[in-house]
């Protein structure tokens, strides 16, 4: 009886968490692309106006960013101004949760068939590298090591941006504690 009432709450918390994390990542992508040269270098190879989406199948939360040129990303929230060029799709919200709560590395999630790429695979590789770089910025070192294949040695970001992102993260991890079972 109790299980039946608790489960929907867990599901809802997970959905909220994924939605919130998409927002955190979208804003952070834009912020990092304004100051980090490694991210800019990766992004410059994308066409101007390139729209990138990360979403949960079949029609769950999503995150949309645009490469506006010169290595800069613009966060569009959850709606795209036109059809997206590259979409990374989680097969289920449970898989999105694993990745966005940093329990599973993005590359591992790909390897484990947790998500699909719709679009040019070489752009997907590039965006994965950008996301890895992003995760090392917004996560404490210990957690970041779990989330990316390798922790880079050359991180130079204003402490201000880091702490702002980490505040989001604190709110976010609160959900993990609640939802993890």
């Amino acid at each position: 009886m109790l299980a039946k009432r608790i489960q929907p709450m867990v599901f809802q918390a997970r959905r909220l968490y994924v939605e919130l994390m998409f927002q955190v990542m979208g804003r952070a992508l834009q912020a990092v692309s304004e100051i980090d040269s490694a991210v800019q270098k990766e992004a410059r190879a994308l066409p101007d106006g390139f729209l990138f989406e990360m979403m949960v199948m079949p029609d769950g939360s999503r995150l949309i960013v645009e490469h506006t040129g010169n290595g800069r990303f613009h966060y569009h929230g959850d709606s795209a101004p036109r059809p997206v060029d590259l979409s990374i799709q989680f097969k289920h919200i449970a898989h999105a949760f694993l990745v966005l709560s940093f329990q599973e590395k993005t590359s591992v999630a790909f390897a484990n068939d947790r998500m699909l790429v719709d679009g040019d695979i070489s752009y997907a590789i590039r965006m994965t590298r950008v996301l890895n770089r992003l995760e090392t910025f917004i996560l404490p070192k210990l957690v970041a090591k779990r989330a990316v294949k390798e922790y880079p040695s050359n991180l130079h970001l204003p402490e201000k941006l880091l702490s702002a992102a980490r505040i989001y993260l604190k709110v976010a991890t609160h959900f993990v504690e609640t939802v993890r079972a």
Partner: protein, 395 residues
């Protein structure tokens, strides 16, 4: 509990061994196919490899309606459209691909067009576009390396836009792969060596890259064992049909392994080198394999060490301390490359190929960074890393 999760899929019936070709009529009849078309290339026809296939069918009263034997080494959208046109005008109802990677990829693409309709194969490019089973399709590989008979991928060049179009769908998989030792008996030594090293690389990368899983591991280790045991024997005695069958089976097994667990940096560098310097794929694999394993070493020590058992056998494995096994596996592969160089001059370094110039290395590295295989390499590869591996492979 770990987060480990995996998927494994291979619905291809494998028909392998002596007189395997003679099973083709039965298999096609079982799929209600009566009017097969053969898709192949000039080399296969010139080597007389079509004769036993056609004879096997005709003896059972199954007429081959049409033979297209002009698939180029780098197949294009035009070729695919032409073949589909012939298939339709001859009212064929099934396809038999006889050949290596290019003939097989072409036949997969033709099957998309004749099953889904239309003339524009580019419209079906991408992942998951095809939603229905295609026409009955058999593959008879004539090289032992690519594993294309068990992969759900085809790559076709769009000549007008000069881009390579990828097609991915489990419906591209053939109904059956027919592995008959007669088909690889006449492969020249350097092709035997290069294609076997391609299969060896498929197995090694499948076993050491990120998407490895228990089922693909079983196929990968069995493939490594077969290649280590049989390759040099076949090089010394090309007419050894038992050895040829071992290599052909190993190639299929390695194909099953890597199509379920993907490949890594060796393939990323190899694809780029193939595109820029026009070197055969198998040769590129042989060139890079040991250098990439050295680069990945600390991330793959355990699985690479385990491979020693299949590369060198139980005696060497048990005589080697556990902490040295990974290095010993790399030495075993280097030794194999030296032996192949002795027997057929298969190059071991980029310089030895005579087709690569040192100033091209940076272009190769740039291109490799965008390759899909990068995703599954166990170590995160930076541009500088890729350049460093290429430098080591240079001479």
């Amino acid at each position: 509990m770990t987060n480990q999760y995996y998927e494994f899929f291979c619905p291809v019936k494998v028909i392998a061994g002596k007189a395997a070709l003679e099973h083709i009529p039965y298999e096609l009849t079982g799929l209600a196919a009566k009017r097969p078309m053969i898709v192949t290339d000039k080399g296969v026809r010139a080597a007389g490899l079509l004769d036993p296939v056609v004879a096997a069918c005709e003896e059972s009263g199954l007429e081959i309606i049409s033979i297209y034997d002009d698939v180029p080494p780098d197949s294009s959208t035009d070729v695919v459209r032409d073949i589909a046109g012939i298939y339709r005008s001859e009212k064929c109802d099934s396809i038999i691909a006889v050949g290596g990677g290019s003939a097989i990829d072409t036949a997969k693409a033709v099957n998309i067009l004749v099953s889904e309709g239309g003339d524009d194969i580019a419209a079906y490019s991408g992942a998951g576009v095809i939603k229905h089973p295609l026409k009955p399709f058999l593959v008879v590989p004539t090289t032992a390396g690519t594993g294309s008979e068990v992969t759900s991928v085809a790559v076709i060049t769009d000549t007008t836009k000069s881009v390579k179009l990828p097609f991915t769908s489990s419906f591209l998989l053939p109904n059956a792969a027919v592995i008959d030792p007669r088909m690889t008996l006449t492969l020249p030594p350097h092709i035997t060596a290069a294609t076997a090293m391609d299969a060896m690389t498929h197995a090694t990368e499948a076993f050491t890259c990120m998407a490895k899983n228990p089922l693909s591991d079983a196929y990968a280790t069995a493939a490594v064992k077969k290649i280590s045991t049989s390759l040099l024997q076949v090089m010394d005695n090309p007419k050894d049909s038992d050895g040829r069958l071992e290599l052909a089976q190993a190639s299929t097994m390695a194909g099953i392994a890597f199509s379920n667990s993907m490949v890594g940096l060796v393939h990323a560098l190899g694809h780029a080198t193939g595109a820029i310097c026009h070197l055969p794929h198998g040769l590129c694999m042989s060139l890079y394999l040991p250098y990439v394993l050295e680069y990945n070493l600390e991330s793959i020590r355990a699985p690479l060490g385990e491979l020693l058992l299949y590369l060198e056998g139980p005696d060497v494995y048990s005589a080697t301390p556990a902490s040295r096994r990974a290095e010993a596996s790399i030495s075993a592969l280097r030794k194999m490359r030296d032996e192949l160089h002795k027997r057929c001059k298969l190059p071991r370094t980029l310089k030895e190929t005579g087709s690569v110039e040192e100033h091209q290395l940076d272009t190769i590295a740039d291109m490799a960074m965008d390759d899909g295989a990068m995703m599954f390499n166990p170590k995160e590869v930076s541009l500088d890393d890729a350049r460093a591996v290429l430098k080591r492979a240079w001479a």
